[in-house]
């Protein structure tokens, strides 16, 4: 199996190389036979790469520990599903999986080639294949998952996957992220392809609209699943820590979101053409940059990725991508002139442009935060870092400004809005939001940012409701169907608002408390009272555990709300401790309970509790965003 997998990997690399050469040659000479041959190579390399992938999965399922990678990330006790997901448990498998995904998208592109403009497709496919070639090359020569173990015997059992990663959300979070990242290769390829083909129309945007939306939706889901995993598994009561690895997935999301908005301006007004080419190239580059960031060891992260010595490969590829895009932009510059100029700052065009600038500002501030240790060491010789407070200080105001634009951007008139139209559209929501702010102060919210955030969300909510109301008057209940793109977009915005309110309240009004209880004792926190009933230990083959049996009641009237059973586990095999948190999810707040430890005589248990207000609405908000993306896709 190992040999078959390895040969298939070599073959898919060779087929990709053939596809690149023949594809470019065919596009250059407009030779249909060569173009079709390149497309055939794309499909063939996918099929062969799939055979290779299946071989690796088979090695995992057969517990074949003569394979180094299988030995590293699997063991006999793991359930088959986690043996399969151990495929992306380490770097070698992850990069291989990445390459395979690129091959999958290339094959889908090539199977559906008749729906695309022939000339653009001829150039776009080899552009996509260049990226695929790069990842197959890296997999084959630097991170080959088909290496035999460097020992003169076959170990009886494997090392096993970290227990924290044996979790259903962790099983699907990485592949979702990788799908999102790799899917951005298609709009990028069509963009560069159309520049090479000297087709400077909007065709590449129409052709890849669905791909871009799917990429965005999948990436959004992937990022949020990672946060959800951290929330329920890591036991620190939060979901986002501005860790370099999280940032690596956030960066392309930011530029991708900017791109989704600015293409609307190109489609409707023929403006921002070069800008869109820049944005999609940047998004594609950032997906590769993220891999470089996390694999090269240049930044410290809580995710201790294996440090590698081939970071230069990624840097080199990025330079090639940037240089090629810059060159193409320069030689096609004349054809990329805007059809019209920006007339006024009070126009939809300007609002979209500012939205883009804000997205990029957040992106660059985040890059700055990630690379600051490297930069400061290079400049001052002293290594310095900036942490979570930096990201919050910079990104919170920028993000809130964006929420404001979200309300303005979709309502303000094209070209130039008159003062009277501005007043007519925005006066009522604006006054109501001021009222909302006053109410919040009256209700006891005193900090500036929360008041601003809630009021802004309310403002945008009113404008969106107004839009739905107007749409309903014209189209009736069919409103989502008739203009799915517009009203689906508003649905995404609505989801963003719900999520923003949730994030604001969890940042501003979170309660953290530590307490120690003997059996039968009760602790009151907020509107809750928690009683420890019993403590008990259990042993399974896999781990030893201590469970605290508690009951959560309402402090006011003693109604039983939930039985919570937080647990501490010790996995003997890897000598790992994990806390299994207990969670009571409610519409008002999450009650998040961690068992911190037992006293030496095991009579007392110590707990840490986090009360996260409105937390569940973050996940609901994101679900609405994804549903909205689905509606936009329908058209």
């Amino acid at each position: 199996m190992n040999t078959i997998g390895n040969y298939c990997l070599v073959l898919s690399w060779a087929l990709t190389l053939y596809g690149v050469i023949i594809g470019f040659w065919g596009a250059k000479t407009s030779n249909d036979r060569l173009i079709n041959s390149g497309a055939f190579a794309a499909r063939a390399s996918f099929i062969v790469a799939s055979a290779s992938l299946v071989s690796l999965i088979t090695l995992f399922l057969q517990n074949d520990y003569s394979n180094h990678y299988v030995w590293q990330f699997s063991n006999r006790e793991m359930s088959p599903i986690y043996k399969i997901t151990a495929l992306w448990g380490g770097m070698n498998g992850s990069l291989f999986f990445w390459a395979w995904l690129l091959a999958l998208w290339g094959a889908i592109m090539s199977w559906g080639k008749n729906i695309y403009d022939k000339k653009i497709f001829a150039w776009a496919l080899p552009v996509h294949l260049v990226g695929q070639l790069f990842f197959f090359f890296t997999t084959l020569f630097f991170t080959n998952p088909f290496h035999y173990i460097q020992a003169n015997f076959v170990p009886a059992d494997g090392n096993g996957l970290n227990p924290l990663l044996q979790n259903p959300y962790m099983a699907i979070h990485p592949p979702m992220l990788y799908c999102g990242f790799t899917l951005f290769s298609i709009p990028y390829a069509f963009c560069i392809g159309s520049l090479m083909a000297n087709d400077l129309t909007n065709e590449w945007i129409y052709a890849t609209r669905r791909w871009t939306l799917v990429a965005w939706g999948v990436l959004t889901t992937g990022i949020v699943l990672g946060g959800f995993w951290a929330y329920i598994e890591l036991g620190w009561g939060g979901f986002w820590a501005w860790d370099p690895v999280e940032n690596a997935s956030f960066l392309p999301w930011l530029t991708g979101t900017a791109f989704l908005h600015s293409v609307i301006i190109q489609e409707r007004k023929g403006m921002l053409k070069s800008w869109n080419i820049f944005l999609i190239t940047l998004t594609y580059g950032l997906t590769v940059f993220g891999t470089y960031l996390t694999r090269s060891g240049i930044v410290q992260s809580v995710h201790a990725f294996a440090e590698t010595n081939f970071g230069f490969l990624f840097l080199g590829y990025l330079i090639i991508v940037a240089a090629a895009a810059t060159y193409l932009l320069a030689i096609r510059n004349r054809g990329l002139k805007s059809d019209r100029a920006l007339e006024s700052i009070f126009s939809r065009e300007a609002a979209f442009l500012i939205n883009n600038l804000i997205f990029l500002s957040i992106c660059f501030a985040t890059i700055w935060g990630v690379l600051f240790p490297v930069l400061s060491e290079a400049v001052t010789g002293e290594k310095q870092t900036i942490g979570v407070p930096f990201f919050n200080q910079v990104n919170v105001p920028l993000f809130l400004f964006m929420i404001f634009l979200m309300g303005i951007g979709s309502l303000v008139a094209w070209r130039k809005a008159s003062l009277s139209s501005l007043r007519k559209t925005f006066l009522a929501p604006f006054m109501l939001s001021l009222l909302m702010a006053a109410l919040l102060v009256w209700a006891g919210v005193t900090s500036f940012y929360p008041i601003l955030s809630y009021s802004l969300c309310f403002f945008v909510f009113l404008t969106i409701i107004g839009e739905y109301h107007r749409g309903y008057k014209v189209h009736g209940v069919q409103v989502l169907k008739k203009h799915s793109r517009r009203y689906g977009g508003y649905l995404v915005h609505l989801g963003v608002l719900v999520a923003t309110v949730a994030i604001t309240s969890s940042m501003a009004h979170k309660i953290e408390k530590e307490f120690t209880l003997a059996r039968g004792e009760t602790f009151k926190v907020g509107r809750f009272a928690i009683t420890l009933l019993d403590l008990s230990g259990i042993q399974t083959g896999n781990y030893d555990a201590v469970t605290a049996y508690t009951v959560l009641k309402s402090a006011a009237d003693g109604t039983v709300l939930a039985n919570l059973k937080p647990e501490m586990r010790h996995y003997n095999r890897n000598n790992e401790n994990t806390s299994e948190i207990a969670l009571r999810v409610g519409p008002r707040e999450d009650f998040y309970l961690v068992l911190a430890g037992l006293s030496e005589d095991e009579s007392h248990a110590s707990f840490k509790v986090f009360i996260n207000p409105l937390q569940v609405w973050l996940w609901v908000g994101v679900a609405i965003m994804i549903a909205g993306t689905g509606v936009v896709l329908v058209k």
Binding site: F153, N162, W236, A304, L342, A350, G387, A596, G597, S606
Partner: protein, 137 residues
């Protein structure tokens, strides 16, 4: 290119740069290894530092009462010449153990690191050493 466009980009650049500059100044912290602190130990207290190192095998104390507090010592990841005491008022992270890499944010006061944040490196991508025992089996 026209005036409005340039104006917008200009405002964004200046505003963004200003925001980043201010936030950087007020949140940056020095990155050190424990041995850096050994040499400066008797000199001065330091605010806002980040120390990356390895949990030393000396003494780990995890108190639950009167408040949750973790006391341990941290040393250089390699060639440790000595260790620095750390006090952290918070939960012991799941993967905290002797020999694990930790990242500590906090202040250096009177020869002790008073941690405000303690992160253990997630060993998800940890490369284990090759199996050694039963070589002849």
């Amino acid at each position: 290119m026209n005036k409005v466009f340039i104006l917008l980009v200009g405002i964004a650049l200046i505003g963004g740069a200003g925001l980043v500059y201010l936030a950087t100044g007020s949140t940056k912290s020095l990155v050190l290894v424990p041995s850096d602190l050994l040499t400066e130990q008797n000199k001065k207290d330091m605010e806002r530092i980040r120390v990356g190192g390895k949990v030393s095998s000396d003494e780990i104390k995890y108190d639950l009462q009167p408040e949750i507090m973790l006391t341990f010592r941290v040393e250089d990841p390699a060639d440790a010449k000595g260790s620095i005491p750390v006090v952290y008022k918070g939960l012991k992270p799941d993967m905290f153990a002797v020999g694990r890499s930790v990242m500590i944010d906090g202040d250096f006061i009177g020869g002790t690191i008073v941690a405000t944040k303690l992160l253990t490196q997630c060993p998800s991508k940890y490369e284990p050493p090759l199996p050694q025992e039963h070589k002849n089996s």
